[in-house]
Symmetry: C2
Subunit: 351 residues, 2 copies
């Protein structure tokens, strides 16, 4: 059986406001390329997983927009969750929705809103993970080789450091929460820590067994859902809201990891996007219709209409049809404060 | 006969781009108040000149927008010039279009895109100018008492300094071009120099006589125009393009000036607007829909949609439906460079 992919595309967030909205979250945006991060995620899987073998878990509200992005993914494989219950219910429900052959085969679960600079390298590691999961019948995760002491990610601690160039899997000793700066620095120096990127490879039935074992409450809820599909909305909403890491992965004593070194980036802010886009004249990054005069090291991102700048530096300027954000680059990660202000003011039109 | 006003509203410019466009120049913008500068100009004349006694000279293209701004001005008194030929032809043509009684009475000519902080003070000086023009049958200009050594304006040099508080008119010795900084400083120190604000008060027939005398080429063209109204467009376009200052005012040896001290401002740039708007929290000036977080001394001018700023200072941000300008306040007077760039790129949609 060919492997199946399950792309998680139910996320929402505020870090790319005003480009991102409730109705058009980050994964649906074309931030770093012509296509949305979601469309890039699916395209990047080929030829390991072709579009007809891709499933997507998203919210009911986003499902139509997701389907529009992914024309080659069969409509019946784009699952709109009746309610947002985090990743463990989403993954389990998707597995139970697949034909039995797919569920008994290898499934790749991955987020839809990350960037990969080197898709070839990504596929090389993913192909190896698929092999390892099939041969060992264990759950395999791809952990990103850290490029700096990031405090915004969780880490996977390996029992032994990965062997350079061998591609051999390593046992995961434990999951580590987002560290403080000193701990993050020690993690990177250790050579035994990888960024947890939320990418898992397993035989579908194997994961469902692990849920039975480690998350019996969720398993019981899923059984009820399976028994009464007519009450799906109500029963889904009653599932425990829990992440797959917390429900299962952190509890496994035989989780394997493969180090991933492919220019992975979670694109967590406008500043992160600035860093991955190629610098043009003056160190500026221009997207869309922009005129930059005497402007340096700024990101001008025009979704709609023109951005013109004059005599400024180190700014993020993002223009949509109904809003514009002008922020110092060093403050771009605080854009949530703008969103909170708009929420408090009841400006649902801008959220 | 009640005085008549002639408002010159044919100007175009780039200094308020992107709010100002060819189809909506500065005088049609509501920059410092709820109403456009043009509407404020007409409102400010009452009760000295009521709207039914106001005439407006503008371009044919702008006439409909001007009429919309000035509902109480009779439509037949809004003159769309067949071609832009500067102020002397515009004023002369308007005088010839008026009923003879108005032309034989006092006419106040004034620009439509300036700001007056103290309308009461403006009317006091204007009323005096109307009296003086009627009694003396001389042309009277209102010259602004300079508040700083401006190098961007022309000056009127008086034969003698004005008498404080007397309101007596003074003879204009000569017109002075835009000075360099040292000269401007000397002008202000002299007490004998006023800013030329382009406001003139005269009996209409008196001005037409002055044109006959000082600008015979223009007078001949006007006579031809008067003789063949059917060929107005062609004959108007053939008039010499010349300002009223150059054609007439600078050549008079009996021009009188009254000092005007009423918070007059020509609002020459976004920076000038910043200076006249009242400061809010953080020294910011907000117009329209704006959210300013950790923002200082910035002008946020939202014509359409929201402006949100975060961690910035000393910026001008102007948002319209199709463009946004982000400029350092010190560079706002260079916005013409953006317009030139757009012209060079053939972006007529944004001009």
């Amino acid at each position: 059986v060919e492997p199946t992919a399950l792309v998680l595309a139910g996320g929402s967030g505020t870090r790319f406001w005003p480009a991102s909205r409730r109705s058009r979250p980050k994964q649906l945006l074309a931030l770093d390329a012509e296509r949305s991060l979601l469309a890039q995620t699916v395209a990047r899987l080929a030829p390991l997983v072709a579009a007809p073998d891709v499933w997507v878990a998203t919210t009911a509200a986003l499902a139509p927009a997701v389907a529009e992005e992914l024309e080659r993914v069969p409509a019946g494989q784009i699952l709109g969750e009746p309610a947002g219950r985090n990743t463990a219910p989403a993954i389990a429900w998707a597995l139970l929705s697949m034909p039995e052959a797919a569920r008994r085969g290898i499934v790749v679960v991955l987020p839809s809103d990350h960037r990969v600079a080197d898709p070839e390298g990504f596929r090389r590691t993913l192909a190896r993970a698929i092999e390892v999961a099939a041969e060992s019948d264990r759950i395999v995760t791809l952990g990103v080789v850290p490029r700096w002491a990031e405090t915004g990610f969780g880490y996977l601690e390996l029992a032994d450091p990965p062997e350079a160039g061998s591609g051999a899997p390593r046992a995961v000793a434990r999951f580590r929460e987002k560290p403080d700066r000193a701990t993050a620095t020690a993690f990177v120096a250790s050579g035994r820590h990888l960024w947890n990127a939320g990418i898992f490879v397993f035989r579908g039935t194997r994961l469902l067994e692990a849920i039975e074992l480690h998350a019996p409450g969720l398993a019981a809820g899923l059984a009820a859902l399976d028994a009464e599909p007519a009450r799906a909305a109500e029963l889904y909403a009653a599932l425990p809201s829990i992440s797959i890491d917390y429900a299962v992965m952190e509890k496994l004593d035989d989780l394997l990891a493969l180090p991933l070194d492919c220019g992975w980036d979670d694109l967590g802010s406008w500043q992160a996007l600035f860093e991955v886009l190629p610098a043009g004249a003056g160190g500026n990054r221009l997207h869309g219709d922009a005129v930059a005069l005497d402007t340096e090291n700024s990101l001008l991102f025009a979704d709609h209409g023109l951005i013109a700048t004059l005599g400024v530096r180190d700014l993020v300027v993002v223009r949509t049809g109904d809003a514009v954000l002008v922020a110092h680059r060093d403050r771009a990660q605080e854009v949530r404060r703008v969103v909170e202000r708009l929420e408090a003011a009841g400006r649902r039109d801008l959220l």
